[in-house]
Amino acid sequence: MPVAALHDDRARPLRRIGVERALLPLFACAGIVGLLKGLSPGLVGGSEYYWLLSYDHGFIRRGLIGTLFRPLLHVRSFDELAPVIMVSHIVACLWIIVACWRLFENAIRREAATDARLALAFAFLCLMCSQLMPTLAHDVGYVDVYLISLVLVAFWLVLEERFVAAALAASVGPFVHEAFVFLWMPVALLLLWSLTAHRGGAARKLLTVVLPVLVAAAVVWLHSDTAVRLAIAAAPIDERAKGALLGVIFEQTAVTAFQHMMRYDFHDDLPNFLIAMAYFLPPTLALLWTALFCYAHRWTRGWQTAVVAFVAAASPLAIVTIAWDLSRFLVWSTVAAALVLIGVGTPSLVATRADA
């Protein structure tokens, strides 16, 4: 495509009513099927603590949701409030579907070529049909859906070039769960890569990259062992589970978790890890392939951008070196690949020949 035509497309977003506009709502329904496939009938065991531990006894990791939820526990028991958690989980899942839909719709609108528009529409279908939605839907009570929602909000703000707002939105994530930084990595890498080409707004972009990471470090640093012991002791959690909660979740450090993973999980179950990777990651690769197909011809630094895209999509997988919920974290790379696909097609993030 001539450079001038590309430039025109950017200047005047196309508002065609193409077949893909009709396909997107249909494809979003596939996400709802995924949700129905995975949805648990109740809270997943071991997720209760997110809702029961709060800042009442001092600052603790993963205490934000519990602190927000705590007032409800004064009027209703936790069991009575379980449907509230269930409903908010379903709403968050639906919101993720809608947010992805809108992100892809905007990406499609920017494209003039029919084949690129169709490829993006089918990439959205692939995202909706992947194991992402069943896995998210299954983990009722876990906070992954809220982390991903926050990433999507912050990413949206990045695309709108509202970097300070994005930084603030992303900084909420580590208070919910410090693993948020792994989900933030793809956006951070794209922003860092954009800094190498577009110097404008460098400080605000750096703030967006760094603030969530600093907040996560502060959350880990400020976490009080005493407070978490008191919070666990006071929480209406099964007594046998309390010890495991303290030992396995809160007394675990990144170093001990890494040692455990290497000594047991990767050592004993490496073939299983490879099987799971082979099953869960093809959608991630397909989304990256779509990114290359749709956008690589415009990038000024083609192969370097492709490498950055690959690394950014794979970056959330770093968490499996310290955590063993394998499928839960494998689908994070599918989310990352979707963000990368949208990101590398956004002229404000990746330098194009039109800019040159």
């Binding site: 596939a30 099927v33 995924g34 129905l36 496939k37 995975g38 949805l39 648990s40 084949d115 690129a116 169709l118 490829a119 089918f122 990439a123 279908l125 692939c126 909706m128 049909c129 992947s130 194991q131 069943p134 896995t135 839907a137 299954h138 047991y264 999980d265 990767f266 004993d268 179950d269 299983n272 890890f273 099987i275 799971a276 082979a278 099953y279 869960f280 093809p282 959608p283 397909a286 392939w289 779509t290 197909f293 063993w324 919920d325 394998l326 499928s327 494998l330």
Partner: protein, 204 residues
């Protein structure tokens, strides 16, 4: 047709085919040592699709060395929940009419041919009776894999061969059940092992 257009068609076809595959595949929940699958609330015919069979096949041996299954097997009777049966010292269970035990919770094992053993003991006032012994898979796609109904006496070992198919292993958890029918039977040790015939086939 240009190379670019051909590339587009190949990519879209692959995305569509992959999407259809994953759409009908079960939700897979994998840890490092164990994996489970579910179809939640979608129609049951999803489980008859090639996607379901392929996914079950891919993860077929995933649970073969699950530490949780080994722990259950070494002291299974301690992991059985009482449905009215009276628990006795040493994880034995008194089965009287209509009262039984079931468990363990969420046992995932690889597909294959197995034999379940139910050993019976005796205690004061609980010597012999009739019992219903079952090996089942639980959940939405659950079914009875093997069953014995009849008299059991102290010192007797009832062997129940069962074959766990790939889809049953994928979509359900294996559960052992024992329910008293008449008299009083004291269930002692319970375990399962790979069927000797299947094991020797594998070895050869």
């Amino acid at each position: 047709m240009s190379v670019h257009r051909l590339h587009a068609w190949v990519l879209c076809a692959l995305l569509a085919a992959g999407s259809v595959f994953y759409l009908f595949a079960p939700g897979v929940y994998a840890y490092f040592s164990e994996a489970g699958m579910s179809y939640g609330t979608v129609p049951k015919w999803f489980a008859t699709t090639p996607s379901a069979r392929i996914t079950a096949r891919v993860f077929d041996r995933y649970n073969a060395r699950a530490p949780r299954a080994s722990r259950f097997n070494s002291q299974l009777s301690c992991f059985l929940s009482d449905d009215g049966a009276k628990r006795r010292p040493g994880c034995t269970h008194e089965l009287t009419a209509g009262r039984g035990v079931h468990g363990p919770t969420s046992l995932k094992i690889a597909s294959g041919a197995y034999v379940a053993h139910f050993d019976f003991a005796a205690s004061d006032g609980c010597a012999a009776g009739e019992a219903l012994l079952q090996v089942v898979t639980t959940g939405r796609f659950g079914r009875v894999l093997a069953e014995y109904s009849g008299p059991v006496s102290p010192g007797e070992r009832v062997e129940l061969p069962f074959h766990l198919k790939s889809m049953d292993a994928a979509l359900g958890a294996v559960e052992f059940r024992a329910t008293g029918i008449r008299g009083c039977a004291l269930l002692g040790f319970v375990d399962w092992m790979e069927s000797p015939a299947a094991a020797s086939r594998q070895a050869s």
